[in-house]
Symmetry: D2
Subunit: 186 residues, 4 copies
């Protein structure tokens, strides 16, 4: 799905190519239960829900402005599989059903505590993270090493053409690390 | 879907991150009719078919070894929507039903003639190409300019971690251009 | 040399990492004679001149605003080896002494005619180009193929950190192709 | 200087584009005193020495095989400014003259202790590091943050053409982080 199809405020959004790679790494099945933690505009929740005929997405978001955007996007794309949960992880996650998958798209605030809780809820959970700050990268690498988790770390860089007169010029996007681990396939 | 899930011979395969971005750019609908031209191992056909409840994929491939791989992968993943078509584009395309989408993953051999035929069959077709040779890049840019097609050109580069002792080292992948144009959304 | 050390107007400037790689690819010697064609702010001329004890740089530029900037930068860094030549290549090159090296940093306007003249003046000339538009890339690849020149094409992408609160975020720069060929070493 | 010009064993070598960017970031002057710590084949020492008319390079290396390579390369290129110092940093650095510049090209083993000693010897030292392991990246980012050092972090990725039949294909290199801080210009 294109970024421009989503209703957006000033809330940061995972770019479409990164979203595509992240959802591919999630390896969703029709009945998966996905936590989208720090759901932002809900773009990942909405696109992922397209894979979930009998599944469920919990879009967790603490920012009220973003919560409203998620609701609008869920409605725009008729994604009845998505339930918006307002609140802050990991606290807000405790009462929710056991997840098979989780996506952490944004802030690293409580990353370790969130990951601990996810793995406690389901030791075979499939987790995908997007990381852009070098400090957050250091923390997730440390977490993987500390827990002896054999994760996959992919650095994705995209550049896009824009027309300047008669020329296609390429504009560089920001590098994003997509980290994936767990699941039942390995 | 992971690259390692597919049955592979010596036939070149679109890497999983590039495949994810390419399929995202296709913007498939449930009833889309996709030509996968130069289908190789069939990885794009198989993964794309997951989106096509009532649609159809024509996996076109001239190399008999690859044709056999496509058949095996289609069977492995139970993708009844995929029909394998042995032969060489553009010739072999003439008799096939009108496509809504097309993916050109590989050789640039007859690129312009193939694109001409696709646009003749359906002027609103959505087309995605993967290009790795600079000569092929030059030709598709020339084609877009010549036909005044406002396409999107995305350069995708990925690097992947591998463990070396106590360290995560990043190995660079080859840069791939993903080109997309057409469709009914623009 | 840092970009910020140069006097800059609105004239586009080769970024410092690309300039470093380009000058490295030039393989200058102490007595080299370098044409810097489309010299812009003169940053390449000035930095390259640092290698040329007994050599010479001809900074060729047609834009009067840029010519003035080159003069200011040459003076700021006391590069007496640099001679500014106002005018348009290839015409303006005819009367100049035979070059051992040439750098083409910018516009592709008359690229083929300029390269033809350079190779006529010195068939063993070492040439480095920077290319950002895909159309220009296609043309230089075509030139190399047509003349059976075994050049090196390097795609360089850099991202730089910026501080955001407590985080180092990486901002992507634009991909640049650095093309090099010729010289007496091969 | 090209990688292939250096005498190489099985010792890892900074690739030429990364070496060019790293030396540019060093901002050497004619009388600089450079420590090249973990000098490997000596490629950085040798190329940097070309900038140091009245300066000095201390090529520090613990691996005897590499020490021998450095000596051979220093001789091949007549770099009398380079003094090879066999031993392990930081210990071996104590007796050496005060440095104005330092380059850390490789192993992160004692990175923090080495940086501490360098900054003790010369609080205004200009330091450039190359980092490829994510763990090392995390450590240098931590060091910069902890010491409130405003450094520059540049991610450099290069891809190079190789000829395949009639095509120029691009092969991706590994991403390298070039980190620079200090010096008297800021």
């Amino acid at each position: 799905m294109r970024d421009e199809w989503f209703i957006r405020g000033k809330v940061p959004m995972t770019k479409e190519e990164i979203r595509a790679v992240s959802i591919q790494k999630l390896e969703l099945k029709k009945d998966s239960v996905l936590y989208d933690i720090g759901a932002g505009t809900g773009s990942v929740s909405v696109e992922a829900a397209g894979f979930l005929e009998d599944g469920k997405v919990y879009a967790i978001e603490k920012n009220p402005e973003a919560v409203s955007l998620i609701r609008q996007n869920v409605e725009k794309f008729h994604r009845t599989q998505v339930q918006v949960v307002e609140g802050k992880a990991p606290g807000v996650l405790t009462g929710l059903p056991v997840p098979s998958h989780a996506f952490l798209g944004g802030t690293a605030g409580e990353m370790e505590a969130v990951l601990d809780l996810l793995l406690e809820k389901n030791p075979k959970i499939r987790v995908v993270l997007n990381v852009i700050a070098l400090e957050s990268l250091g923390r997730i690498v440390g977490y993987l090493n500390c827990h002896k988790i054999d994760g996959e770390i992919v650095l994705v860089q995209t550049s896009k053409s824009r027309i300047l007169g008669e020329y296609h010029m390429m504009s560089g996007g920001n590098p994003v690390y997509v980290i994936a681990f767990g699941g039942e396939h390995r």
